[in-house]
């Protein structure tokens, strides 16, 4: 291992910079030279990169986003795109590429690993937490906390105006964010894509709350459920309480990473370098049961991480 590359790909997540910093510095301790591709896979394909010396990653630990920038890169979804990326790796004489990103990026990493001799190691970084092989991704904890701060503010108005608020959080296919936010914000109702939408159950719950004199509720819904407006109208019409919608949106992606997101970035980076030194070739780093582990890229891509439904049951009991 003399020369390795880093790429941040897909949506940005808080802690990506902490991971870049950790990789660049730990690799330097092992005598490796590190380059950083710019703008995600697109930068790998076009072979656009910067040198990442240890001092070049100063002052970025606490910053959201990624100094390497990222992009959605349709070209990398084609065979030609992946081949071009493999060619860049060969041209740059890289022994390994470390991919920092979410579910889609890891699938890309898997495809690339089939066409290159370089080791490909993925670090799961995504606010969605939807990566198989790790209990938590870099950035997830930050996004949950950001949403809590927002909901704290929304609750001021919900309580003062005695309104029901539907708070739509990110999560196109998975409910990890919605369920964790819902539990920790004390939401009365939590809706995730994994559980079929049943309007009548929700309305019944809200009617019971209203009957008990509860005058303001928070409903947390993953965007992937796709029923935000429909539900708002149903509640107003059938329960007779006023509803407001708040879509948290891109705010959830940003902000300074929490301690936990920075911690994961640091120990994941350490593990990635270890795997490289051990001669591993295509792994996804992760944390499982409190231990830093890894699974193969193939395994990560062929399995779906289950949602912990116990969280939802507990949240429901807690929001009496």
């Amino acid at each position: 291992m003399r020369r390795i590359g880093i790429v941040t790909s897909g949506g940005d997540a808080p802690g990506m910079n902490a991971a870049i910093r950790a990789i660049a510095r730990l690799a330097a301790w092992s005598g490796m030279e590190v380059i950083g591709f710019e703008r995600g896979w697109s930068g790998v394909i076009r072979n656009e990169y910067v040198l990442l010396e240890p001092r070049a990653v100063s002052g970025i630990l606490h910053l959201g986003g990624t100094i390497l920038k990222t992009s959605r890169c349709p070209e990398f979804k084609t065979r030609e795109g992946v081949e071009k990326a493999a060619r860049s790796i060969a041209e740059d004489d890289l022994d390994a590429l470390i991919v920092i990103g979410g579910d889609g990026s890891i699938r890309g990493a898997h495809e690339l690993s089939k066409l290159t001799d370089a080791a490909i190691i993925a670090l799961p970084a995504s606010i969605d937490n939807d990566v198989y092989g790790t209990d938590e991704t870099i950035g997830f904890d930050t996004a949950v906390n950001t949403a809590l701060t927002e909901i704290n503010k929304i609750r001021d108005t919900a309580v003062s105006l005695e309104r029901t608020f539907i708070v739509e959080v990110m999560g196109r296919n998975r409910g990890f964010l919605a369920s964790e936010i819902g539990l920790t914000a004390g939401a009365e109702v939590i809706l995730v894509p994994e559980i079929p939408y049943n309007e009548e159950v929700i309305l019944e719950r809200l009617r019971r709350d209203a009957a008990k004199g509860k005058r303001s509720s928070i409903i947390v819904i993953a965007e992937g459920v796709g029923k935000t407006r429909e539900l708002a109208e149903a509640i107003e019409r059938k329960v007779g309480v006023e509803v407001r919608i708040s879509i948290l949106g891109y705010v959830q992606r940003g902000g300074s990473p929490t301690a936990r997101s920075r911690h994961l970035a640091s120990v994941f980076a350490e593990k990635a370098i270890e795997l490289l030194l051990d001669g591993e070739r295509s792994r996804v780093v992760g944390i499982q049961g409190g231990r830093i582990t890894s699974v193969s890229l193939a395994e990560a891509c062929s399995n779906q991480k289950p949602l912990n439904l116990e969280i939802l049951k507990l949240a429901e009991k807690l929001a009496i």
Copy 2:
């Protein structure tokens, strides 16, 4: 002055609780008894209130929302509604009512003042800052700072993904929030209801920026402009850059009041009590040129506060 009432009305604003606390305590120093009507005008109409002794308002200074709750009250827009409110004031033997709220609440206060002998004093509290007779309302500074925090987070993604973000802020009719947020967030474009929407000018600006290599922009738009989605599509189609929309929404209403919102709440409350002791009957408290002043309810209701267009010109120059 032996007995006075307080009501918080319309949309909630951070600092309303600071104002309630200040009035309750300063009134007590002058030997007045204070009651707080609940749920805005609706509580006045139904004569629902709580006693506000000095210790009853402990621990609320830093809370968003309003402990007296608020509501939109269509009944108060009718002659009958206002008469009922006047009757409550008489029944409760109130010498004065202090109304804490925005533009609409002050209009309500004005109507009420015509039908009651009690003094009616208004304290402008609104995130919209659209009250004539005061340079700034309680809550405005908090809402601007909340929006800045949000935009800081959005900028992480804007820069990392090199996208243009349209950030829609509150302001149905007026651009006070949008212009102040735009200036202090360093927005490239600021759109307010007071200035006719001119798409071509905006696109030209963005084209120039793109030509200079500027790859991410923030556009702040007041919701009242009503062109958010239209503009996003126009930019994508005609400038050829990717656009994302973020609607800040109700988050702007909430949160712990800033020092400035708390300060205004305190000195406005002091002025209100002074006006009452001076025998004034229908005034709106305000700050003008750094001095705490007041105008008559009639004057506040028959004038429109001008938007400072210099702010927009300065903002444009600063976002080169």
Copy 3:
């Protein structure tokens, strides 16, 4: 199990209210009545309590501190004190007492469990994280994040004035806070009570940094090391750089609990109720390797939780 008590004891920790809420509500689901003793052990001794019905714990999930209040109670360190507490439990006809607190509180719980037939279950809540049997206590994650926010601000001045800052964090006996804060804040030096203080090593490190042109450093030191001022003087005198001291202090105890602190509070509470329903009598709830578990009070009191020294090694490598 028909009737149980809750007490929060020792220093307050963010998430104690989340734990109170979760216990009160989950116990109600199992048909238990719940009372909350006020002011820690002192309230148990004097048998001062309030009834905690499910709706009585509304609106407290996001609040720092503890609505039950807490205190240091020297009387409870005597045999008489513990006996009085046991008598209160008998008088109140309690089947169980749930103790929410840190290391000292758990020792107290253990003593009490020897003198009462009621089940005693402890929930570890402490910003210090120094409880055996759990990887993490309620409140620890919040305190770490609070410190990060502070250090972010201090770094502005450190960088602008090119100063070295010594940041003293809490931790009289243990370095859990200091090591986690140091790692995630990117501190150049981390000093914990578990490792003998070696001034020369620190000075050598700072000299090397200065020689490399690094002009501002952050040193995180646990208060228990007791060398804050001594070190500042040594650096100024022997390395020749200006040093400033910042003692974070009580700020670390407060604030709205993070998602993780709230999450732990919720699942710890769930486990506590489960243990009670299973007939367990004297346990400390915890999280170990990602699983919610428990150890006996005796075991928790006779073992010391080890500090993960790997964190310090990693932090040192990362702060090149």
Copy 4:
């Protein structure tokens, strides 16, 4: 005006970067070239600077500290130092120097203005707010809000443990910070250097509070009063309540500037450029009664800004 310099001097204040950005960009609109001296007066003396083109100040608006860095510079307090600075200005062919800093920096600017033909314009930026000729300095509002956030957290513990907290805030000679923080945090006692310290009055106040059942208080004290520890001991001994001290320290200097600090930075910069274009030579920009104005450097240096004692009286009435 073809070429101007900027220097940030003294302690850093949030919003200095906003001011640098605004000056660099507004000057460019008027066709001026702008250089930024590094490390305060020391950089002027050594003639060390960077070119500040409009795009060079991108992405700094929201950052605390100063990208130009700052320093305390004893050499500039000597005649030789000021002469060297004047020489640098001549060598660099500067028509003007804009000095961003507090009271000390403005005195320095005044001395320099006597030895150079270049125009010297000062922008008051200081968390202390102790500059004559302006109601508010850049950075003051941020520092007050930072302190409020800290005190919010401290209050969690103060209330939970029923302790009295003495919070020491910055302010070596003046009480602007302490009085504004005290008012807006709802402090029970506020101590400033401008008012002689009278222990008995404070103790009497706390005794009365204790008699009324008030169990936790916040005392805000400016560091310049110099009685923090003494007072703590007196309260414990003579009032019999437990006291904790929290020294906010350097945290108050840092952090992202608030909207108001950024706003002032922008309009002060605009005024500075205007003054230069109008041929003014030695002025301090300021805001007075809501209007952007200026006074001569001589006037600013020969007068002392009065503390508004009404604020203290109001605060005392509010903290019943």
